[in-house]
């Protein structure tokens, strides 16, 4: 783990693995330090930003360096099930690439329990880990200029759901009617870091 300076009021904690990153994030969030403004997980990092002029960053550093990361289980998390129609444009491509049938792709994708590792790209877009090995496939060679909102997709070690229509290069497995982001809701993002997610196939 490395502590990297990120301007006068923030730091980037660089971790060895996604699991270590999740443990650092959970430790910092659980401590609820008063002067922290943002705790933003990335694929291998946690960005910690403190109120300018406060001692929040020092407190966070002491916490991270003394925390028992092995004991962190991700802290408080929601369990979320997302209903998916597995009719995505890339379902056959994903099956071909994995050397299995489309039905087996659905079985694999719905059989796993995922964890929201971090967000980015767009409000409410969660990068979910726990993708079975055969589904860990590269992005499309040519990204689509428009991926419909609610598209359920995979890329690399992640699966995710596009909260709104946007360009994108992930392989599309299907779509959901679930609302991923509503800025006026009490809980605006359906998926927050640490949450556990399952996908359920519906017709």
């Amino acid at each position: 783990m490395r502590w990297l300076r990120y301007g006068p009021d923030a730091a980037l904690v660089e971790c060895e693995s996604l699991a270590e990153m999740s443990a650092v994030r959970a430790a910092v969030v659980a401590a609820a330090l008063p002067d922290l403004v943002e705790v933003v997980p990335g694929a291998r990092t946690v960005l910690i930003a403190a109120r300018p002029g406060s001692t929040g960053l020092d407190a966070a550093r002491r916490l991270v360096e003394s925390a028992d990361l092995e004991a962190m289980d991700g802290g408080e998390s929601h369990e979320i099930t997302i209903d998916v129609r597995y009719d995505g444009e890339d379902l056959d491509l994903v099956a071909r690439t994995a050397g299995i049938t489309a039905d087996e792709v659905v079985e694999l994708h719905t059989g796993a329990v995922y964890t929201v590792a971090f967000t980015g790209f767009a409000p409410g877009f969660g990068y979910l880990t726990g993708l079975p090995g055969p589904l860990q496939q590269s992005r499309l060679d040519t990204p689509r200029t428009r991926v419909p909102a609610g598209s359920v997709a995979i890329a690399g070690e992640f699966t995710g759901v596009y909260p709104r229509s946007s360009p994108g290069g992930w392989r599309l497995l299907g779509h959901t009617d679930a609302v991923l982001f509503d800025s006026r809701a009490a809980r605006p993002a359906l998926l927050a870091p640490g949450d556990r997610v399952r996908f359920r196939s519906v017709r």
Binding site: E38, L47, F118
Partner: protein, 285 residues
């Protein structure tokens, strides 16, 4: 008549802005908010508002609004011509509008963003605790258009006693203190490479200030390397593969995939937000 303000003209881009919605980065939501924070705070003080009330950020001026009720307004940012029903009124001071009167803001000769505060503040429905428009993720009230009627809150207090405040200068060359890192080790002699004069390009917006100059060179071992997504903060100077830096402003994405060579200190951000294309920026590590 109800307390409201009707938009008559907008100039290139007029947005409702307050002090933003920091603290939602983990949900993928940028902080947003006024780019020139001291200017909005000052406008609010002059109009008798708490400093965090929502006002209008008008890119290159050109804003015209008609009051539906008696109110106090103040225009800040760069020095700019302000008129009420065609009669000169002045910027950086409280101005009274009677119901039916129209305030117009001219085009500033320097700087980019004028701020209009109105007594009571713009009272559109907040989203995630803020009324700011976030141009990257589309959260907050849409860009203003002629005909839009903006509700105003109840007047809060008496306008600040100061009659006039001198507008800050917007120099043609900015000196920007930066803190190197977190990825300065991706670049050979990062401090030296950054210290050259950079030019603000017209590709800049609320997401970031794009700069032109001699491309920043990575060390041989980092050439072509990829970085997994990591968190981004306002002021971060990110370097895409073309070597031309982007200084992230308030509507920046929450994670990015390119190395951040340095971070501009917060007190430098208002001047960066007012830097026109062609402005020279010198980073001082």
């Amino acid at each position: 008549m109800s307390r409201a303000l009707e938009v008559v003209a907008t100039g290139p881009l007029a947005l409702v802005q307050d002090l933003g919605r920091p603290g939602h980065g983990h949900l993928g939501v940028p902080p947003s908010g006024a780019l020139d924070v001291p200017a909005l705070r000052l406008a609010n003080r002059l109009a008798g508002n708490p400093e965090n009330a929502a006002g209008i950020e008008a890119l290159l001026g050109g804003l015209a609004v008609t009051a539906h009720a008696s109110c106090t307004v103040a225009v800040t940012g760069p020095p700019v011509a302000v008129a009420v029903d065609g009669r000169p009124a002045g910027s950086h001071l409280p101005v009274h509008l009677a119901a039916g009167q129209t305030l117009t803001i001219g085009r500033p000769d320097t700087g980019l963003r004028c701020y209009l505060a109105v007594s009571g503040g713009i009272a559109v429905e907040p989203e995630l605790g803020s009324r700011s428009r976030d141009v990257l993720s589309g959260i907050g009230p849409p860009p203003l258009e002629p005909g839009v009627v903006l509700p105003l809150g109840a007047p809060h207090g008496i306008p600040a006693g100061a009659d006039t405040v001198t507008a800050p200068p917007n120099p043609a060359e900015l000196l920007v203190p930066v803190v190197l890192g977190p990825r300065d080790d991706w670049f050979g002699a990062a401090a030296h490479q950054l210290s050259v004069p950079w030019t603000v390009t017209s590709e800049s917006n609320r997401v970031g200030l794009r700069l032109d100059g001699p491309a920043l060179r990575r060390t041989a071992e980092r050439d072509g390397a990829e970085l997994p997504s990591e968190g981004v903060i306002t002021g971060a100077i990110q370097v895409p593969p073309n070597g031309l830096p982007v200084v992230f402003l308030a509507d920046h994405p929450t994670t990015g995939g390119y190395p951040v060579i340095a971070v501009a200190v917060p007190r430098a951000l208002p001047a960066l937000a007012q830097a026109r294309p062609g402005t020279t920026v010198r980073f001082r590590p």
